[in-house]
Symmetry: C3
Subunit: 309 residues, 3 copies
């Protein structure tokens, strides 16, 4: 699919325009992120805390891992955005996530849920459904996780994506329509939908799946872009979380910037250790020209998805 | 000792054959691991979760850190193999380890215990002895830890190995004979025994001791090889954990692949930061030819060790 | 300020001498650290455990993360030094920190507190003030954190330093005088005071702020140098924690070695991923000649600071 998208002869004028528009909008949000260094509150799993913080710092955001009760709530209220990742949800962190989500909802802080490995694992699956009812701004997962959250699949084995992105497209649209969240499905081609529009981003590199945190850190980067979009809205007089349209653009921007940075880091003969290092360098270096040159984005819009109910 | 083993003039024909056999058997298991991507369930310490996951991903296995109660048991039952590392055993993780080990035993999932820093530290020492009674498939530690687990030493100071590998050889054989586990003792020369045979592997590089997780990630890699060996047995009709002979070969293969990769990563003027990066690259790249060229393995067999009792 | 200090024409003879003395004293302590490999007990946050352990290993110390109750106390009593970092203080870790600090105080183990992000966050702020009453050997933080601990500021937003080092100078001197600790304030110019003397170290690189753990690992390195200084005192007959004068020199040495290593790692076009790797290499390689060549240290002494009370 990427080869197809890469070949200008196979792109319609409409597709070229979509890629151009996405690159420009993403470049504007990336610039705003670097100007505003959104304070990105992460409640995330013990495997990826380090790489998540480093990805945010490299990109230009300010990470803060605050995952204990008594602090997660107050912090979510003042943060620019919040990520809740369910990768290693110990009891204290589960309560902290509940506290943070409630405070974020009240304060208008945009928040992202990453339902890592739900489906097969009962504790996190129950928590994911509980938090889903609190109106997340965005949901990020692989196809298996999105299918499980939409009630349409059995979930993956750990963080593997046993299902393909396209197989999750309908479930993602329905999940978006029902939850009010922008839903992002990671895969060789990333899919992002607000329930009506579907963006497909054919950037990135398979090495992202050979280093831990390749998906999880994208959840934090997504939160950071939502924080940047919000600060832009505030400048224009709004006080709440970004509306769905802003959120859609922010999630597209996060995914595009992240996957283009992965392309800059990858190359022939690059092993996973070297890739992880170069990827942080690339998150710091990626710019508007890279996005314009490399964006492979299509956007389709159609009937709103049927309800899950 | 490595110089001695490196010098072909000092190797008997028997030793050369042992190295050749170990390289061939390890190469077969490495190929099987990469074909089957064993789902490797890790309950491990907070310092090394990231490097452990990255080592498994680089090698070709699928890591999953599931360390909470209510999930650790169900997951151990479906995983290809389990690692329990006692490096930072908080109360929730201790209960999750008990739950996982019980489920692994019931389901026939092979499992590895790494009794980090037992001896001096009371909580983990008690837990290590408790888990030891549940018949681990393999035990991995440095000489001090193995001596402490065998009741023959006072343990190390943290993860340092205050004792030498050879000093632990007798304790390791008795521990293997009494526990039914394959015992691996890490050191400049790694020692692996099933209570009768003793393999000595003189590969590796001292830089492995200058990066955190150099030993802990080997425990996870050992679990992954046990998972790969098991899937091979399953293909041949078996349904349980690998028998002791398969387990011995799998632990030898894990150690050999890991230490040969360390050699590929090391070199003159390589600092510890660069080594850690190159080591992940090497785990992804190491192949049968590297094993054949570099394996320095001897295997001795003798009387079964006397009981610990 | 760094340009000014770099220019010999602007340095008084007194300033040149201070830099020379600091470089020589730091070189001696660095050599002692590498000879004695101080066992450095860390209770630290989940984001930086890995990089902290790797920084200590690269430098030549022996890290041990022991952060559960029942073990933290006994271990603090036998460790060379202790770090308590409040970055992600879950309930078990808070109790472990209390246990460790009590045991360290009783055993004469020098200990460092790093009050990460206190001020805005209530749980850790209360704990920091509680632990402060137990006579830490050293306190390390950014300007916002030191102001908050001294009761003179509102704290930062996460680990950002919203305040400047010089703005915290008076608060740091009063905090040192009242607590009996050496106080280190991180920033573009690091400030270290025992309540009377103030050392300013104008080394380092801004890339340290673009990788997570840039400040937190310095807390652990500070503990390691206090451990090394103590073992030197023990050799000379003392049995307790280093006295304030030794502690001042040790904290200066830790900061100087760490920031000079950062300079060795940085360079034109170096991104944050590459910097993190090269920084570990540099911690292993930094030597007396590097300190002599690069040290930009001034020391002023004056009236003891007024009390906080």
């Amino acid at each position: 699919m990427r080869a197809h998208l890469n070949d200008p002869a196979h792109l319609t004028e409409h597709q070229t325009e979509a890629a151009h528009d996405a690159a420009e909008a993403s470049a504007r949000l990336l610039a705003r992120l670097r100007e505003t260094t959104p304070l990105t509150h992460c409640i995330t799993n013990s495997v990826v805390t380090n790489v998540t913080a480093n990805a945010l710092l490299a990109l230009g955001a300010a990470p803060a891992m605050v995952d204990i009760t008594g602090e997660a709530g107050p912090f979510a209220a003042i943060a620019s955005a919040l990520l809740v990742n369910l990768g290693t949800p110990n009891p204290e962190q589960r309560d902290a996530a509940r506290e943070a989500v409630e405070a974020a909802s009240r304060a208008g802080t945009p928040w992202v849920i990453d339902p890592v490995a739900i489906g097969a694992l009962p504790v996190r699956t129950a928590l994911a459904h509980e938090l889903l009812a609190a109106w997340p701004t965005a949901i990020r997962g692989n196809a298996s996780e999105i299918l499980a959250l939409a009630g349409a699949g059995a979930g993956g084995r750990g963080v593997d994506a046993a299902d393909t992105t396209d197989a999750a497209a309908d479930a993602a649209r329905r999940l978006a329509a029902d939850s009010g969240a922008v839903v992002a499905v990671s895969g060789p081609v990333d899919l992002i939908t607000d329930g009506v529009r579907i963006a497909r981003i054919a950037n990135g590199d398979a090495l992202l799946t050979r280093v831990t945190g390749g998906g999880c850190a994208l959840g934090a980067v997504t939160a950071a872009f939502l924080g940047a979009a919000r600060s832009g809205s505030e400048a224009a007089g709004a006080v709440d979380a970004p509306d769905t349209s802003d959120a859609f653009d922010a999630v597209v921007a996060a995914t595009l910037v992240y996957t283009v940075a992965a392309e800059l880091a990858a190359g022939p003969g690059i092993g996973p250790g070297t890739f992880a290092v170069r990827f942080l360098d690339a998150l710091a270096a990626v710019d508007a020209a890279d996005l314009r040159e490399r964006a492979h984005v299509t956007v389709t819009a159609g009937e709103p998805a049927g309800s899950l109910a």
